[in-house]
């Protein structure tokens, strides 16, 4: 028991650290973009090897980045919920009452405050959790999940979500979702504005320019362009890298809470049978869901590239692990599973 506790403190620390790094990288990236823009459009220039001029756009970018980071931290959950068009879950039907009860139960099992429950009106079974800390956490399920799953399966899914809440995954994942959206938006804006002002097309004319600042400006302009193209890609890669292992850990924690490997196992098997993607999920929010909500993203491919570019571990692999857990604890001959592996 104390070992499990230690693990959970460790996970929480890691998430706090990762969120801090993410925010730092984000602010630095923005500031760098502003710096580049200062060269292109502001009065910043390199004259005789020294930097001259007032970095107005850099400061604007820095301010904007800090503002965006604060907004993401305090308003991220609302933004995410709005972007998937979720509404607060009320006990208006017996089914919804059941989900609210199960949320309370799993919060007790995880020894966490009871999160708010939200509902997405979508027939595809899925769920996610978000928020900046356990005291300000939200779990969200789809109507499809409620319709297709029984009580035990809903327990398994919400146990998984409570694990994300307990381990502070929700904070990291929320910041990634909101900041990635911010980076993508800005990159898009920069990219367009550069086309409109002819920076990219007119690159060749600056070669004739004999002043050093012109060359430097063009170079930084290209740098900005590269950043603008790569930023969302890197952000996405980061999101993928951090979320796959989390899913396995949350699956294990769900079993620890429910003391019932079958609950989550059956839930995942049921999800594996459905094919319909989620309407309101986007690339920015996909990594938050218990299973990948995007079309065609759920194949059980293994291998380096498949693993590198997917936000979730293959569903088949997760089901396999849970089944192994069930065999260990479920009274079926434990020796059999170890023999069949060799």
């Amino acid at each position: 028991m104390s070992a499990a506790r230690a693990d959970f403190w460790e996970l929480e620390r890691r998430n706090r650290r990762e969120t801090a790094i993410l925010v730092a990288v984000f602010v630095a990236l923005f500031t760098l973009l502003g710096f580049g823009l200062d060269f292109r459009f502001g009065d910043l220039a390199i004259v005789n090897g020294t930097l001259t001029g007032f970095p107005a756009l850099t400061l604007v970018a820095l301010t904007f980045a800090i503002f965006q980071a604060l907004l993401s931290y305090y308003g991220g959950a609302s933004l995410v919920l709005a972007s998937v068009q979720a509404r607060e879950l009320t006990p208006d039907t017996p089914q919804h009452q059941m989900v609210l009860d199960v949320v309370r139960e799993m919060a007790l099992a995880a020894r966490m405050p009871v999160p708010k429950a939200y509902l997405m009106n979508d027939p595809s079974p899925n769920a996610f959790a978000t928020g900046r800390n356990p005291n300000h956490s939200v779990v969200c399920v789809t109507q499809g999940l409620i319709d297709t799953m029984d009580r035990e399966e809903v327990q398994g899914v919400l146990g998984h979500e409570m694990a994300h809440v307990r381990d502070y995954d929700i904070r990291t994942m929320m910041m990634i979702a909101v900041l990635v959206a911010g980076v993508a938006m800005l990159a898009d804006f920069v990219y367009r504005s550069m086309w409109y002002t002819g920076t990219v097309g007119g690159g060749s004319s600056s070669r004739d320019d004999d002043s050093r600042s012109g060359n430097g400006g063009a170079l930084i302009g290209i740098l900005v362009l590269v950043l603008a193209v790569l930023a969302p890609f890197f952000a996405q890669l980061l999101a993928m890298a951090v979320s796959r292992e989390r899913e396995y850990l949350a699956d294990a924690a769900s079993v620890e809470f429910t003391r019932n490997p079958r609950a989550l196992l059956r839930a995942l098997e049921r999800i594996a049978q459905t094919e319909s993607p989620l309407r309101n999920a986007s690339r920015g929010t996909a990594h938050m869901f218990i299973v990948n909500p995007l079309q065609g993203a759920r194949d059980d491919d293994e291998g380096f590239f498949a693993n590198l570019f997917s936000t979730h571990p293959p569903l088949g692999r997760r089901i396999e692990r849970l089944r192994a857990l069930l065999n260990e604890t479920g009274g079926q001959t434990p020796a059999a599973s170890s023999i069949s592996r060799s």
């Binding site: 017996p94 009452q97 059941m98 309370r104 020894r111 327990q155 059956r266």
Partner: protein, 198 residues
């Protein structure tokens, strides 16, 4: 001069250690009491629900009468229990009886179509689950407290200040597993979710 300083420092260290040890024992003891209060809330809620259940199902379940009266009697015993051990025993009896009743309800299509019964069933199910989960939390904190009280050197403080080991809330052996009651009444569609087991 320097010798008395050393003695003073050692004395201060011992006192500081004793204060810290005492405080940590108090905080664990409070944790245990808190966890017990959590269970208590749920147990009381269950006591309140039992009369409603009896009222709702008494017209339907003729042959479950025995379990029903058993639960009602256990409830009376739990409410008037003189000490914690006998109360736990009575509560465990309620748990066993209720889980049997809840399983049996599944086999009565008439009961399953009664909105009141469904609502009660959900309330009882979640209460049962919440009792089980708070019991896990309670037992975990009891284990922590008892280990502290027994192990050296905190046991010195515990003995001097009269910290007592807390009692585990053991479940009755039969309520570890939900009884599989199959009356083969042909519940049909209502039972669909629970069939693909095995």
């Amino acid at each position: 001069m320097s010798a008395s300083l050393v003695v003073l420092i050692i004395l201060a260290a011992v006192v500081a250690w004793a204060v810290l040890g005492y405080n940590s024992l108090v905080s664990v003891r409070n944790q245990v009491q808190n966890a017990w209060r959590q269970i208590d809330v749920q147990l009381r809620r269950r006591h309140d629900l039992i009369p409603n259940l009896v009222e709702a199902v008494k017209g339907y379940m003729q042959f479950e009468r025995e379990t029903l009266t058993q639960v009602v009697e256990a409830r009376a015993k739990a409410i008037s229990a003189p000490d914690q051990a006998s109360r736990m025993a009575a509560e465990n009896q309620i748990t066993g009886g209720l889980s049997r009743l809840l399983a049996v309800i599944e086999n009565y299509p008439q009961l399953k179509s009664d909105q009141n019964v469904l609502k009660l069933q959900e309330e009882l199910t979640t209460t049962e689950n919440q009792i089980a989960f708070s019991r896990q939390a309670y037992n975990d904190s009891v284990m922590l407290l008892n280990t502290r009280i027994e192990s050296f050197p905190t046991n010195l403080i515990a003995n001097n200040f009269g910290f007592k080991q807390a009692e585990y809330f053991q479940g009755a052996p039969e309520d570890q597993v939900v009884p599989k009651v199959d009356l083969s009444m042909g519940g049909g569609a209502a039972q669909a979710p629970s069939t693909p087991r095995a």
